[in-house]
Symmetry: C2
């Protein structure tokens, strides 16, 4: 019997998709990555995932795990692979309101987890634009970041326990809900961010945070990036670290947003170069503290304009602009993109220097970005009608090189996938790459799990 027939015996014929039924799995949200898999398998339990991997191990069939298909680094594409979708593992198994933990399956959509926590008066703090489609398995496998990392850390920081199916079908149970557990090597963190190359995450125990009583959301226009960081530091000091988000959008992004999104509006009456969406969360006094800090910042000439959201509609409009970043930047067809991190103080210098490098390799190109300013994390896009493949490659290399010179990383929160293999080869410590290869070979000797991703050949 062939692989698909045997897989159908495990999960049922209806859960083995082929042909046009696979369409929504075969193209990524950037439109850059396409593949033609053998089939898409949709197991309904950890046991079925384990049985499918045991079968794949026996048959030598390559398997690519996929959850929400919202990744932008080409992490789930392989010609001829069996894609293994975890979407049917979609139960929030339990929420413990005393210990503030949620036991969830890998196919739970991020917004569903956020809503389940909210219903119990708690917060699951990972949040980003694709929260309506991204799933727990994917946010763990890419160690996703988002807008609240400043306060809560990235997805890794939210995870206490994991359940993982290995390449040979064995189930590794690390499902602890304890905050302290030093029982051997940290296999949990090894699996988080491994993009499905070392195992398939099927379930997790995630931390939940207390829901702050009040939130203050505002758009501010600092007069420069250094001024923006000064305001951020003042807000943190005055509120004891209550800043949840501090999101930078340059004028170029605002203009692309206005041009590409129906109903889009200017953030302020006058255009500003530096636009920051900020959100604080804490107690009832927070609104007064924020107004005072922003008032002083305006008096001190640090901030040119500020608007505090007065209701949920205004708040949603502010967030809507920021969360539309993928819809604004990607369909515009960037010549190349970057998801980079830098020492926080170096951002203004980076933008200046990058403009020069871009002009060298791609004369006439424009660029834009959105940035998690407090994390030093920039989502960068460069645009040039008719850019050649050579120019695109040179652009990425120039970006990588500048970031490396400035002590940054070519990969902050979107993962490596296929898109950043060249960056890994150029800039990751070669000994670290060798260690990664040794671990990959040790855990997946046949190279069945999402081969060709993360580690350059």
């Amino acid at each position: 019997m062939d692989f698909m027939t045997r897989a159908a015996e495990i999960i049922g014929e209806a859960q083995v998709l082929t042909g046009s039924d696979m369409a929504r799995y075969t193209t990524d949200p950037t439109g850059q990555f396409h593949s033609t898999p053998l089939c898409v398998l949709r197991p309904g339990s950890t046991q079925e995932v384990a049985a499918l991997m045991a079968l794949a191990d026996e048959a030598g069939q390559v398997v690519v795990p996929v959850s929400g298909n919202s990744g932008v680094s080409g992490g789930t594409h392989n010609e001829g692979a069996a894609m293994l979708s975890v979407e049917r593992l979609n139960r929030v198994r339990a929420i413990d309101t005393v210990a503030r933990t949620a036991e969830v399956e890998a196919g739970v959509i991020l917004d569903a987890l956020r809503e389940a926590a909210d219903a119990e008066g708690l917060v699951f703090p990972v949040v980003f634009g694709a929260r309506g489609s991204a799933m727990v398995g994917g946010i763990l496998s890419t160690n996703a970041g988002g807008s609240n990392v400043l306060r809560y850390g990235n997805t890794r920081a939210q995870c206490l326990g994991l359940e993982v199916v290995l390449a040979d079908g064995r189930v590794m149970d690390l499902m602890t809900a304890l905050h302290k557990d030093n029982s051997g090597y940290d296999l949990r963190d090894l699996m988080i961010g491994a993009e499905g190359t070392l195992g398939i995450i099927t379930a997790a125990v995630m931390k939940l945070a207390p829901k702050p009583a009040h939130a203050v959301t505002a758009m501010i226009a600092p007069v420069s990036l250094p001024a923006a960081l000064t305001v951020l530091n003042r807000l943190q000091a005055a509120t004891g670290g209550a800043v949840e988000a501090f999101e930078y959008m340059p004028r170029s992004f605002v203009e692309m947003h206005l041009a590409r999104i129906e109903g889009a509006r200017e953030p302020f009456d006058d255009p500003h170069d530096v636009n920051v969406l900020m959100e604080l969360a804490g107690d009832a006094a927070l609104g007064d503290v924020a107004e005072q800090v922003l008032g002083e910042a305006m008096e001190d000439g640090l901030v040119a304009d500020a608007l505090i959201a007065q209701n949920e509609t205004q708040r949603e409009a502010m967030w809507g602009r920021r969360e539309a970043a993928a819809e604004v930047m990607l369909p515009a067809g960037p010549a190349f993109t970057g998801d980079i991190s830098l020492p926080v103080g170096g951002l203004a210098d980076f933008f200046d220097r990058m403009a020069g490098r871009l002009e060298e390799v791609m004369p006439g190109a424009t660029d834009t970005c959105v940035a998690h300013l407090g994390d030093g994390n920039v989502h960068y896009g460069a645009y040039l009608e008719g850019a050649t493949e050579e120019q695109k490659t040179a652009g990425i290399a120039a970006l990588d090189a500048l970031v490396a010179e400035m002590g940054g990383s070519f990969s902050a929160e979107h993962g490596i996938g296929s898109y950043k293999l060249g960056s890994m080869a150029r800039h990751k410590n070669p000994v670290a790459l060798d260690v990664m290869r040794a671990i990959k070979t040790a855990l997946d000797p046949k190279g069945l799990l999402n081969p060709g991703k993360v580690i350059p050949a």
Copy 2:
């Protein structure tokens, strides 16, 4: 040439210790673990560590890394090994006050790092009794906890970057100071907590925290453990999570402290079953908030007595009792000890049930503990004059079994070393153990680095 002669050519003859010069490395602080190494090597740089490991790889010489020799799990003992002390790698290379990071070498003593941070108005928040001897390499290799985990997390949470010498002498440079860096597998966290079995940590980039302006230290006597947790929750809610330490000492510990430590004094005028050392840190209003919460807790019958430290002398006396735990509990010759974690709400029940189990396997035995109450982490000791080896083994097994039944871990923050290999074999997920073995073999195929630790045979 033999191994020692060649090692002396790398690091100088004076840095190759033998015979009685090795005394302070060959017995652990519990007095339970002794070994007779071949020699103690004291390299002075990362390059020398690398050259020694290349030599060991060629010679097939087992190497056991050691830093402060303050571990209590027998993690640095092997007959005939070359011990590799990192104590001469003792530079604080740099402190960045803007990014709030410290680049330090593995032989920096914990207190020296704390003092270096303090001098810059910052805090390195890892703190425990052995802070005057424990070193950065050891606290990373065991993922040490301590009294401030409640607020800051354990040592893992403080680390951004690592430099590691592998078993074959190659240097793996992961020395980033970035908070966001998703460039491949999380090798940093794999090395942290691996107890020197996968590589030798030679340097690290550690996070520093802002120094709170004010601290409130107090001894309180809650009427029960559940009452203590209620007070902890009230303090956290009233202060926005400003509790840095919440340390439980039962009456039995206070009495052992009085009996064994010269100059020891009662914490209160009257004896109490539940004694808690608490510390808050934050702004100037904190003292008033703490007094109000404790006053209400006394009115509500949750707390029988409370003393707030009025000066540094009183504060030090309070901390002195808690930090003497190792001197109080270990020289008394415990039949067995445990460093366990439990779901926080289960602690009272655990002590009740453990008393019954202890009486079954070791009639007439007494027990005591100190506990990081907010983390559910208990340092347990059982005592019986003339306990047999069978009784000791049965005692550990009974403790492990109860902890497992209650959803806890047999290892919270002291590591596995040699002492907990049996616990690992009995209670760690067998698939996880296999994965650990595969990783160990992949990174140290000759089994040269601290063999026989962490992973049971």
